[in-house]
């Protein structure tokens, strides 16, 4: 596990030393706040579920940054040929996969927290602190955050499976784009469902994502191995 953390730390530093990654992070944190400003009339007059949908967006949109990181995880290393020295080191396959997953998960999770906090602050200002405090209880906020984590793990694991098997970062990013598209569709669907059955749907989605996580991680473990990666270099 020590080597997984070492690998993850290097990946995070590498990812975020790119200016583009910083802009992407700021964009995905700012987007939900911009949305509540743009819809403050609807949010102010409408039911609480609209504010819940905005909160869900605030939790899940920053996870989009994870898709790009996951897409680059193996494909970018293959392209730069840096995977060979890494695979030549005495580090277990599971440490490599875990390290890359941590590198995808930690920054996106941190962004989800920042985004939720920013949303909470901004919506308190616009819609009143009392209403937001009643709506976004610590349990709800934790639930939204947990949902974001499961979502990142699912998307990260699936995109990493793809990234390990394609030859270029560009291809991996294109596939990640489809995943992002699917994510937007899923967000919209979740949003519309929450309007009718808020709590049950959130719990149902969490369970579904959790199951999907387990499947994806198991597949990532089965599909990705050193031999496969080297043979494709």
């Amino acid at each position: 596990m020590r080597k997984a953390v070492l690998l993850a730390r290097r990946e995070i530093v590498e990812q975020y030393s790119d200016r583009g990654a910083g802009f992407r992070a700021v964009f995905f944190v700012a987007l939900p706040i911009a949305l509540i400003f743009l819809n403050r009339g609807t949010g102010g007059r409408g039911p609480d579920t609209i504010l819940l949908i905005f909160a869900l967006q605030a939790a899940l949109l920053p996870t989009a940054t994870a898709i790009n990181s996951a897409a680059g995880s193996f494909a970018a290393e293959k392209e730069a040929q840096t995977l060979v020295p890494l695979l030549a080191a005495p580090i277990a396959d599971i440490d490599i996969v875990a390290g890359k997953l941590i590198a995808v998960l930690v920054p996106a999770a941190a962004l989800a927290i920042i985004s939720l906090a920013a949303y909470y602050g901004a919506s308190s200002v616009i819609f009143g602190h009392e209403r937001i405090a009643r709506l976004l209880t610590p349990t709800t906020l934790f639930g939204l955050f947990a949902l974001a984590i499961f979502f990142i793990m699912t998307v990260g694991a699936w995109v990493m499976v793809v990234s390990a098997r394609v030859g270029s970062q560009r291809t991996a990013q294109q596939i990640a784009g489809f995943v992002l598209g699917g994510m937007i569709v899923a967000l919209s669907a979740i949003g519309s469902l929450i309007q009718s059955l808020a709590a049950e749907i959130v719990i149902g989605v969490v369970v579904a994502v959790l199951v999907s996580d387990l499947v994806a991680l198991d597949l990532a473990r089965r599909f990705w191995n050193r031999e496969e990666a080297v043979a494709r270099l």
């Binding site: 080597k3 070492l6 690998l7 290097r10 530093v13 590498e14 030393s17 790119d18 730069a80 040929q81 840096t82 995977l83 060979v84 020295p85 890494l86 695979l87 030549a88 080191a89 005495p90 580090i91 277990a92 050193r226 031999e227 080297v230 043979a231």
Partner: protein, 301 residues
């Protein structure tokens, strides 16, 4: 070792030894199986059949410990270019479980002449400096086995020479060094033994000097004479002409023989008797390249 990729045989029953304090050049055309062999030995690619034993450890049974005993350098430096040289080497030292990497890194960068750029980002390095950084990475855990896969690709002649000197100095430290290359000049200069592979099979193996001198000795003479007279004289002497060409009023004659003492004496006597003026006679030294090309041609026939 045998390694197949689908129906393609990258290596077939390939077997050779690299001892401590020895540089073995693994030569062969593109796609011969050199890189596959080095990756199997490095413990990053499993053989389909057979095994590779590194410092007493089987790659089949103990790949992680094999990896810890090998240093691998590829044709591309393959660095994380946003890192500084210091962080990069520290990172790999920790991956290789080096406890206190500081002094080791200081020693390595001094050896490579990179002390002044230790805290500079790798992206700012020249190609030669990057390759040196890659070699430092491969040595950071003091491996007894060093696998160099085309290490001098894209280096200028001066940097290639520096690299050769460095490789030779590493041999002096009693490391076993496998140099995969198709730079025959480089192999000729520094390798103790040569293994030639083609289409996944070893076609010749032996000490570099022995390989160069293998085959029928060949000779070259510079003559002033009429071409017909030379041909007639040599026919009388029973010597088969390899090549006879005219340039600047002189003839250049090449021939090979299994028995130089007997046949060369007879040939020269016949030429002199025919009134041919002999300017020079030389034994031709085969370069490793000549030997290599002859061996590859022979193996394909």
């Amino acid at each position: 070792m045998t390694r197949r990729f689908g129906s393609f045989n990258a290596l077939s029953h390939t077997s050779f030894v690299v001892r401590s304090g020895e540089i073995v050049a693994l030569l062969g055309p593109n796609g011969a199986g050199k890189t596959t062999a080095s990756r199997i030995i490095a413990g990053i690619l499993a053989p389909t059949a057979g095994d590779a034993v590194v410092d007493g450890l089987s790659v089949r049974e103990d790949a992680p410990r094999v990896r810890a005993r090998c240093g691998l350098v590829t044709d591309s430096p393959a660095l994380y270019e946003r890192m500084s040289l210091r962080s990069y080497l520290t990172y790999f030292a920790r991956l290789y479980d080096v406890m206190s990497p500081g002094p080791r890194i200081a020693g390595l960068v001094e050896l490579m002449g990179l002390t002044d750029v230790l805290d500079r980002k790798l992206a700012a390095f020249s190609r030669g400096m990057k390759q040196k950084a890659a070699i430092a990475r491969a040595l950071v855990h003091e491996p007894p086995v060093l696998l160099l896969d085309e290490p001098a690709t894209a280096l200028d002649p001066e940097m290639s020479q520096t690299l050769r000197e460095l490789i030779v100095s590493l041999r002096a430290q009693d490391r076993a060094i496998l140099l995969c290359t198709h730079d025959l000049d480089e192999a000729q200069r520094i390798s103790d033994r040569v293994v030639i592979v083609d289409r996944g099979r070893i076609v010749r193996e032996g000490p570099t000097d022995e390989l160069r001198s293998a085959g029928r000795p060949s000779f070259r003479a510079e003559l002033v004479a009429d071409e017909a007279a030379v041909r007639a004289a040599l026919r009388t002497a029973g010597v088969t002409i390899g090549d006879l060409s005219a340039a600047n009023g002189r003839l250049e004659l090449r021939w090979t023989t299994d028995d130089p003492a007997e046949n060369n004496t007879r040939a020269l006597r016949a030429l002199l008797d025919a009134g041919v003026r002999v300017i020079s006679v030389n034994a031709e030294t085969r370069s490793l390249e000549d030997a290599y090309l002859a061996i590859i041609k022979e193996s394909r026939q």
